[in-house]
Symmetry: D2
Subunit: 341 residues, 4 copies
């Protein structure tokens, strides 16, 4: 590509998430343009493409990648479609930003890892957008700076106001706790090796059949403990909190309020209702950073290995939920391509 | 008095404040006992005295002071009765804790100051209980420690949920802002020399005829500015805040919440409804410190001079309210007895 | 005793804690006086007694209880001396405030429980002073009020700046986590039935041989989970935090700062160095409440059963520390005397 | 312009602020491109233009506006050059985003207002970027929602760590307090009618000749008071705070910390050093909103009238600084074009 020209992006999937990325590339961030949109629902692809100058619509994701204006791919289709799209992109040497999960299970993720490793260069970035949140970046910088010494505990809280009926124990791990899994790996630079799940009585507000809240305790290969309170029917809003307990102090993000109120016997502030509100800026930063890296010929951000590693930990957590006790994580070896990343 | 025996206190006034002090001396603090209670309403005095072993009741305050078990006097009668009681106590060389105001006006306060100065020893402590609040004491210690350099501004907020009908502009100064006047003098160790009153449109919740809130700006003899937001019908609770803006940083008390809640889209805590809740511990500390000082033969705490100085500033503030513009404080000279206190 | 007279207290133990209670009864709180002090070190008992009018010194605790001026007993001697002193007090029908632990182990505590139950009336209060902290009382009132529904999780943090060399894993439980054990039982009104201990790598600042920090997860008979971060060599100060996660919101105490500073690129406040600073008021309230209850002929506060229950949970936690995995608590039945308390 | 094409912007001024806007348009935001850069220092213009594909460099601002690729103008040249550039843009009917101040004085600003009013349509937006800060927008929404009733006071704090030597009393108003002037007008939807300046002793850290801090009290045409602490050599960082005191509660922005630390006896967080750090997102949002509005053919944001109104209040504040007392603001009538904006 001509570096002076905007990056031509094919967006795969024109659902809620895909359409939002199209809007982001077209209106919010710079340096890129949407060259093609693909969706199995051709009408939906066309409706989204119609709002963007010079954007073609395709029912087939591979055809979209082959559009002559395409320099890179953003995958926002349902999880089961990811593997085929990722392999096609790798074949074409196209950089990819793939919404989480990389694939629905660890085995498929490992196939992607091996395919990319075989190419000998990184092309894939996984959409763990929390790494792009300004507050988490401040926390990461503080830990990396070393002023508080080694981290011993990571204490995490993840609360959603409510979920849809039909939300399951497995979704609790795969859709929600997966963020803490990646956050912990990223903040600590360590791999998770075991997990225990503690389950209190469920809230009366939890969907039928869901054990909510739960308390998960992860162990890393360096002996750090990560405990996660996950509570997806807390009722009062969306709240994410993470405190690193270090040898020389602690550091915490979350909980802070931007608007402080006094009213009717109460001081305090407002809790956002949705993760889209809390992490809106993180999504913008994520896609902007990806565009800038691709244009500069660099590979940054969460890798396919990060996608695989999260999937492997999720599988262990699911077994701990079902069977109780402490379950060790079974992980493949990390290919040399991902060393030091 | 025998220092091993508890201090015998005559409490003058058996109304709400007097009865509360009787309870405090009898049940909460150590080292003292209520030896006599006086109230012009003899039945009320007797009812309060009946609950305390060895406590006599009197309709006449001077008779109560002359009870053989009395070592010290606590004045909690209405302000107009203070001057006579104070002079009688001085005559008998009895230590006094006098609820604020020392007297209703500056001229009477000055007569008390001169009477005490003529004795050549301090016997009177005025009930500015905010000096005994643990947080204000922390602020005072920080400023005294000098780590943040000289103070330039003192920014104060004083809010009450509501007042009784009939609350006037003068009461706003004499009953409410008088606390900031004493606090400023005490924290800074400076005298207030001028005052300006700024008046916004009044709240629709303010009692008829009351200009509420108001913003008062005081100047000290060392050139520090003290601004006070007074808002006695703020509706949401009782809140006192004070930030010292210093050359090397700022320090603030108030605003902190002890119980932190997440609920229904809001984070935050509870605002107390009344000053009695906010400053309950300060009253206990105040009377305990007075008892300990008297038993040790010391005179500490806010002096008659502090009572006079506050009254003189209040008179200037009332004129600034009525006439607008900047009004200078007219103060008598400080007798040698009060130097360095 | 004559209710108009102050309560005559025998203080057993004239070490740091005992001497502090003598000071508290003599100078800080009302309604009681120190009638006798006992210590095996007779000189130490005499030195402490000498500062208090009408106070006798004894080398023998039972002799102190038999002093004619004694109405009640405060035990502040070392834990191994508690059982004999408690039994002697029960024999004499003297109300007792016993510093924690009730006894060093659960078996001895159970003997005390049975002895008191045989008398058919409560005479013993255990010194779990955190129940008297104003913030924890606010939290208890909120949970009892039911506005946030049932509690599901209790998330606790307990940090000390440092410990003495020689501090052991067992002391971590018996001296530190025992406070969270009692707090959880009291806040929830539930018994703890099982415990798991998670251990991260220890801090380089921990004393040799101590696994610090640790993460303990308790389960109650109603299915609530209580997780406790205990970190006794955190380095930065003393910090106690407790968040109740309820069906309709969360409520937290701890973390709040009284003095808020801006200085040199940082906003924030001061962390106290010691529990004595953080809980000074709680000790005062505890002893005052005990004196008032005894004078009124009532038995309130943490009971001998509470002392036993905490000891039984500690024993399970110690086994979980040593052996790993989940350990159930073995508890004797609760005598009828303690029902509903 | 073709709405599907990016907006071609001429950036006037290639200094620090202009270069930053070039970077923002080229790399951060979408929908626009830098078509031309002008600077009297031709080499500087060329250096900046060289980094952007398809961008021409000019020494003359009018020539840059006449570049065929230009659809709109962003003025980031020194204040004295603004009037000529604005008039040239108006003549060409080009939409303009003009960095504050609109012009260096109220008389020139009024000439701009009249020139735009004569055209009968709004083309000018002034760079009061605080209106684009997410927290201030939350505060504005809350006040507009009316849930807390009418505003009575606006209490503002504006602190900078330090200034350059040579910073004057006039710059304190024109460069710093001008933000609070615009914020107050915007939040309240009212005009400022009078101002009083209170001056404490200056900080020893203030540049020679500067009276710093100062306390300004503004009055609005609806009777609201706005007090502003301005302290440009506070030493500890950059801090902006604004509390609206309303009839039914208060609402505040500022002071909140994103990263919360426990370390060495202190809890708290970090204060940014510079306004560029605090308001980085606001600048992005401002330019993005301007680009979107221009492309949609709308005129939004702070108008030339807002620029004039701020200048008129500044002139009154400068007189109040010099002469003392209360100074009324002399303002021209608001042309119909700006009604309701």
């Amino acid at each position: 590509m001509n570096r002076a020209e905007p990056l031509g992006v094919a967006v795969l999937g024109a659902g809620r998430m895909g359409a939002d990325h199209v809007r982001r590339i077209a209106e919010v961030i710079g340096g890129a343009r949407v060259a093609a949109v693909a969706d199995v629902d051709a009408a939906r692809a066309e409706a989204v493409a119609a709002g963007v100058a010079g954007c073609a619509a395709y029912p087939d994701p591979v055809a979209a990648m082959d559009d002559p204006g395409v320099d890179a791919v953003l995958i926002a289709s349902p999880g089961p479609a990811h593997e085929a799209a990722l392999l096609a992109a790798l074949e074409r040497r196209l950089p990819v930003l793939c919404e989480k999960p990389l694939t629905p299970d660890a085995a498929a993720a490992l196939r992607i890892v091996h395919a990319e490793a075989a190419l000998g260069r990184r092309l894939i970035q996984v959409g763990f957008m929390r790494r792009y949140d300004a507050d988490f970046q401040r926390l990461k910088a503080l830990l990396a700076g070393g002023e508080q010494g080694r981290t011993l505990l990571l204490r995490c809280t993840h609360r959603n106001a409510s979920t849809l009926p039909g939300f399951t124990d497995a979704m609790l791990v795969n859709d929600s706790v997966v963020h803490e899994i990646d956050t912990a790996r990223w903040l600590l630079g360590q791999e998770i090796t075991a997990v225990t799940v503690h389950r209190p009585r469920p809230s009366g507000r939890a969907p039928r059949g869901l054990g909510d809240p739960q308390l998960l305790v992860f162990e890393t290969d360096a002996g750090v403990l990560v405990d996660v309170e996950i509570f997806v029917s807390c009722g009062f809003g969306y709240q994410v909190r993470c405190e690193a307990v270090n040898e020389g102090g602690t550091a915490r993000v979350g909980d802070d309020g931007h608007l402080f109120l006094n009213a009717a016997g109460r001081w305090g502030g407002v809790i956002p209702g949705e993760f889209t509100e809390r992490f809106a800026d993180a999504y913008d930063r994520e896609v902007r950073a990806w565009v800038a890296a691709v244009r500069a010929g660099r590979a940054e951000g969460p890798s396919a290995w990060d996608g695989y590693a999260a999937a492997a930990v999720c599988e262990a957590a699911l077994r701990a939920q079902r069977e109780g006790g402490r379950v060790t994580v079974e992980s493949a070896g990390r290919p040399a391509l991902y060393e030091g990343a």
